[in-house]
């Protein structure tokens, strides 16, 4: 077990998770309460910083030697373009969220559990994207889900967050049952659980295609609960709006995309149905875009609005992947992965900026209330940075240039029009019109923050700290820079897109 390759990237967060927890439970005599909280934060942040070293090493290996494989007896971990891309997304967002949480979660009861679970979740997500065994994939997935339950229901004194946690748990569990059924069918058909061997086994003539289709449907719905395909999405607005802001950012920027990767990996083992999956993905994508936008239009709570906007952005990603699968256009997959990254950046930024505003207006005053849209009025006067960051995130999500979101949507559009298929083009125009619709709720938010008359909450707000400001600055810069230089991400998204096409045998 070398720590300087991908396994290190998995092991470091997972091992540091209990260490951080124990550090937070040190005897009270030696160390004050504040000191412990400080220790926990620094330890968690350092642990994730350390994880960047193996990440850099595995990026180097990937581009020099191609796909890496590790095995633990018969179970393989395969590190390919998609694994590394998603690991990078998770690690980046995780590092920023941990930095952000430093002040945000300071003094909360159970702070050490928060960091321990966050680290465990990050490690498990990174492990998941490399899983090369179908059942092992499920184990990673389930472990990730369990580590996120506490994080969603972290404010256990708030009834709404318990309600959200409960729905999240039951729906995830129901989804996971369906996935397991699918795995059972595949096992019965292929006689193995290793993804590469399954692909080989099911391409023979002895298998029953109908059964495999059934397994595919189970994978799609089972993992789809985490991906928040409409109508499986119902847990998402609750969980995203009730979790601590850093966790909302993780859920929206990483967890749902990880669910998508799990779904794609599982579907990719069943060869020969790429067209069916592509069409289904596009169907769900269109539904997600429309539903997310319409429901976001009438929200009064800011985080809930962002949660619904996540639904529509998942839809854009699904459309890109669907185009790649059904028409064999690699650009669609590249655009989709680019959008995964941009969505991580923009939605992460949006949730963190909302968190910053909540921190200033509510948490500092000892309140856990949810931020309503009207509270934002005039926020720019007191919180120029948070307001600017939030505006950039929102306009980027709305797909306005010169911000990152525009460029990835554009790639998906280009791919869609390249198919020269009338249906897909109609879908693209539908998507474009929906982007316009989404401005109907993003733009007024931005406007509201720059009003002259500040809301009473803003007037009573307290200042932000540098650990909250720094992630906002980093991500805002990212959103702008990628808008001007979309090519910067090419080396990552192209590798992921190519791997995606290979996975599905295109």
């Amino acid at each position: 077990m070398e720590l300087l390759n991908f396994t290190g990237l998995i092991i470091i967060p997972l091992v540091s998770s209990p260490v951080v927890y124990l550090a937070g439970r040190l005897g009270t005599r030696e160390i004050t309460l504040r000191g412990r909280s400080y220790l926990v934060r620094v330890a968690a942040f350092l642990a994730l910083l350390a994880a960047w070293v193996p990440f850099a090493a595995s990026v180097r290996t990937l581009f020099l030697d191609g796909t890496q494989e590790f095995n633990v007896s018969t179970i393989w971990l395969r590190v390919d373009g998609i694994s590394l891309f998603m690991a990078g997304c998770v690690l980046l967002l995780g590092t920023l969220v941990i930095l952000f949480s430093g002040s945000y979660m300071a003094g909360e009861v159970g702070e050490e559990k928060y960091y321990a679970m966050l680290l465990a979740m990050i490690g498990l997500m990174i492990g998941l994207v490399a899983a090369g065994d179908l059942f092992n994939l499920w184990v990673w997935f389930e472990a990730m889900a369990i580590s996120s339950y506490l994080l969603v229901a972290f404010y256990r004194e708030q009834s709404a967050s318990l309600e959200a946690g409960m729905k999240y748990l039951v729906q995830s569990a129901a989804g996971s049952v369906l996935v397991l059924m699918g795995i059972a069918i595949v096992l019965a058909q292929a006689g193995t659980l290793d993804m590469a061997q399954i692909t080989e086994a099911v391409s023979g003539s002895a298998v029953n295609r109908l059964a495999l289709l059934g397994a595919g449907a189970l994978f799609m719905i089972g993992f789809g609960v985490k991906v928040a395909l409409v109508p499986l999405h119902t847990w998402l607005p609750d969980a995203h709006s009730q979790a601590p802001s850093g966790i909302s950012a993780m859920l929206s920027g990483a967890v749902i995309e990880i669910g998508l990767i799990a779904m794609l990996r599982a579907l990719a083992t069943l060869t020969g149905f790429a067209l069916s999956w592509g069409i289904l993905l596009m169907g769900f994508g269109a539904l997600n875009i429309l539903y997310g936008n319409l429901l976001a239009l009438r929200q009064t709570f800011v985080k809930r609005l962002l949660a619904y906007s996540s639904l529509s952005h998942v839809g854009y990603i699904l459309l890109g992947l669907g185009i790649a699968l059904s028409a064999g256009i690699e650009l669609g997959a590249q655009g989709a992965f680019f959008h995964v990254f941009n969505h991580m950046l923009m939605k992460g930024l949006a949730f963190l900026a909302v968190g910053a505003l909540m921190y200033g207006m509510f948490l500092q005053n000892g309140s856990h209330r949810a931020l309503k849209i009207e509270h934002l009025a005039g926020a720019a006067q007191k919180y120029p940075l948070a307001a600017l960051a939030f505006s950039l995130a929102l306009l980027g999500l709305g797909g306005l240039p010169p911000l990152a979101g525009f460029m990835s949507k554009w790639q998906i559009f280009v791919a869609g029009f390249q198919t020269q298929n009338a249906w897909i083009i109609v879908l693209m125009i539908f998507m474009a019109l929906n982007s316009v619709l989404s401005l109907g709720y993003y733009a007024p938010l931005v406007n509201l923050m720059y009003r002259r008359e500040a809301s009473p909450k803003v007037a009573a707000g307290k200042p932000l700290t540098w650990t909250i400001a720094l992630p906002l600055i980093v991500m805002s810069l990212g959103v702008i820079v990628l808008g001007f230089f979309p090519g910067l991400m090419d080396w990552f998204t192209v590798a992921a897109g190519r791997q995606f096409m290979q996975m599905f045998g295109k």
């Binding site: 729905k167 039951v170 729906q171 129901a174 989804g175 369906l178 109908l210 289709l213 059934g214 449907a217 189970l218 799609m220 719905i221 789809g224 609960v225 395909l229 109508p231 499986l232 119902t234 607005p237 069916s276 289904l280 319409l294 429901l295 239009l297 009438r298 650009l331 590249q334 655009g335 306005l400 240039p401 525009f406 460029m407 554009w410 790639q411 559009f413 280009v414 791919a415 869609g416 029009f417 390249q418 198919t419 020269q420 083009i425 693209m428 125009i429 474009a432 019109l433 316009v436 619709l437 401005l439 109907g440 733009a443 007024p444 406007n447 509201l448 720059y450 002259r452 979309p486 090519g487």
Partner: protein, 581 residues
């Protein structure tokens, strides 16, 4: 060298925007100074750019597969529009020094204005359709920010979002057209589309042509997307000048002119363009007849004049449309800024409350009259020459009835222009409004624009030569100033048109003066609803919200229903796969 100048003309205003933003609102004087400095520099550079006009790209940066090469082509059309955006924009900025004096959020104001100017120059200079779209969207964003600049006022917020949504719907047209072109050509270069248009499948070309028409109509507030411009009047007045004269609305005209050679052969396209222009020109002129809000009346006149330009393109007069665009930019900026001086001074936009203000602010009165006469088409001001040119071409290349209607429009223009002047500056004092004279910065920009109104038509020959030589595909006719002047003056149609204009003036003098304050009578409901399209807009918004409301019922928040969602989705996917297998 050309590359540097082109880069400067885009980057300078953006750098200025950033500088003003970073200067913080505490240092208002510094912000004013920086804004003026950067905008004037941009204007100077944009004039220098005339020397470097060329057909070939001045800048070319490869960006990768999905984005193509980023090119900037300073050809005649681009250079002309750049100059208009930068020069008129800088005058609006200078004007703002007085107008926005003492405003608390100057940083945001100047940031958006300068960003807007930079985006507009980028839009016209871009040789890559993707970046045309890119800048196109930025102009929409900036106009949104500026229209709802006074965002404590719900009317301003509503006007801004309306402009944003409608122009973005147009943006979808541009997007679709661009991507259909890309899918067929494999290139985003405008030059490629123009050169290979005839090789494209007829169906694809038609889709591109009409998509672009939708985009242009939405951006230039043409029928049936004309509803947003009058509502955009909530913006600070220099911004209205910017949107109406220098930047935003010109983009649509630019788009049509730019792609005219590619689309002229598409069946029905020219006729559609012609009709869009015709209808817009007429309904906006009628609306302006009864508007009581000074800025709204000016806004209607913008829609109407843009209608003339669109009509000219439909009648094969690409150069005439651009020439009128230049004239219009100058005199409309003058009118708006003068109106701004009045509004700033008396604190209302309602013409019914004004009257006899001429005595109190003679300078503003004089320049407003100059602008108004140009708008009405009185010789020898620039509006006269360009409008006559359009009507001349209309007589030659469009059906007679269309020409006759446009001629009527000219008469209406004279009527409402005179009415505006009369209501604001003459007649008796209706309310004791206290007006103060315009400030120095206001006077400087007004003076320059008034001078421009007298002289810009003299550039006809030079511009014509420039455009003809740098736009080979457009095959523009070469004419010198003298030739055009003699052609216009010797044509009987000109004298006939002048007669109609005089008739309009005379009608106002005889009938309109008395009833200028009266309501429009039976016209009112039509104008109120923008001839029914306002209610269409409202209906769409309402239906969207209703559908959203219906949909929200599905989010019951109850666990059992949530699980039913999962199970029924499973059922649907199973059925789809089973039937598909």
């Amino acid at each position: 060298m050309a590359g540097i100048i082109v880069a400067l003309v885009i980057v300078l205003p953006w750098a200025g925007a950033l500088a003003v933003w970073l200067a913080r609102n505490k240092h208002a004087r510094l912000q004013h100074a920086l804004a003026v400095l950067f905008s004037v520099l941009t204007a100077i550079v944009s004039l220098v750019l005339f020397l470097f006009a060329d057909t070939e790209p001045a800048i070319r940066i490869p960006l990768g597969k999905a984005f193509g090469d980023l090119t900037f082509v300073p050809d005649g059309l681009a250079v002309l529009l750049t100059a208009i955006a930068a020069v008129i924009g800088s005058l609006a900025v200078i004007f703002s020094v007085d107008y926005m004096h003492g405003d608390a959020q100057l940083g945001r104001y100047y940031f958006l204005v300068l960003f807007f100017i930079g985006a507009m120059t980028g839009l016209v200079l871009s040789g890559n359709l993707l970046f045309t779209f890119f800048f196109w969207e930025i102009t929409a964003l900036c106009s949104y920010g500026l229209i709802s600049f006074y965002n404590d006022d719900p009317k301003a917020v509503a006007g801004g979002i309306k402009a944003l949504i409608i122009t973005q719907v147009g943006g979808v047209g541009l997007l679709a057209g661009t991507l259909i072109a890309f899918a067929n050509l494999g290139s985003f270069q405008i030059a490629d589309l123009l050169a290979k248009a005839s090789a494209l499948p007829a169906m694809a070309l038609a889709w591109i042509a009409f998509s672009f028409l939708v985009a242009a109509a939405a951006k230039s507030a043409q029928f049936p997307f004309h509803t947003w411009l009058p509502d955009a009047m909530e913006a600070p007045t220099p911004v209205s000048a910017l949107i109406h004269a220098a930047t935003m609305v010109n983009a649509g005209i630019y788009l049509l002119a730019r792609f005219y050679p590619a689309f002229e052969a598409v069946p029905g396209w020219r006729m559609s363009v012609l009709l869009v222009g015709l209808v817009s020109a007429l309904i906006a002129a009628v609306s302006a007849l009864i508007a009581t809000d000074l800025k709204r009346a000016l806004a209607y006149s913008t829609v109407s004049q843009l209608g003339y330009m669109v009509y000219a393109i439909g009648a094969e007069g690409v150069f005439a449309s651009q020439f009128h665009l230049l004239s219009h930019a100058v005199f409309k900026a003058l009118l708006f800024l003068a109106a701004g001086a009045v509004i700033h001074s008396v604190g209302t936009r309602d013409m019914r409350r004004m009257g006899a203000l001429g005595r109190q602010m003679p300078f503003v009165r004089n320049v407003f009259i100059v602008g108004a006469l140009a708008l009405a088409g009185i010789p020898i001001l620039n509006g006269f020459w360009s409008k006559e040119l359009i009507l001349e071409i209309g007589l030659e290349h469009s059906p007679l009835w269309a020409y006759a209607l446009m001629l009527t429009g000219a008469g209406l223009t004279a009527f409402y222009t005179l009415r505006m002047v009369w209501l604001v500056f003459f007649g008796e004092e209706r309310e004791p409004l206290h007006a103060h004279a315009a400030g120095l910065a206001m006077k400087v920009s007004l003076g320059i624009l008034a001078a421009g109104t007298f002289i810009t038509w003299l550039f006809f020959g030079g511009l014509n030569g420039l455009l003809a030589s740098t736009l080979p595909i457009h095959e523009l006719e070469r004419e010198t100033l003298l030739e055009v002047l003699t052609a216009i003056l010797s044509a009987p149609a000109t004298w006939f048109a002048l007669l109609i204009v005089a008739l309009g003036c005379g009608l106002f003098w005889l009938l309109g003066r008395k009833s200028a304050l009266a309501q429009g009578g039976w016209l009112d409901p039509f104008v109120e609803t923008s001839f029914g399209f306002e209610s269409l807009n409202r209906w769409i918004v309402q239906v969207t919200y209703q559908v959203a409301e219906r949909f929200s019922v599905t989010q019951t928040g109850e666990l059992n229903w949530n699980i039913l969602g999962i199970v029924s989705a499973l059922l649907v996917v199973l059925v789809v796969l089973w039937l598909g297998a």
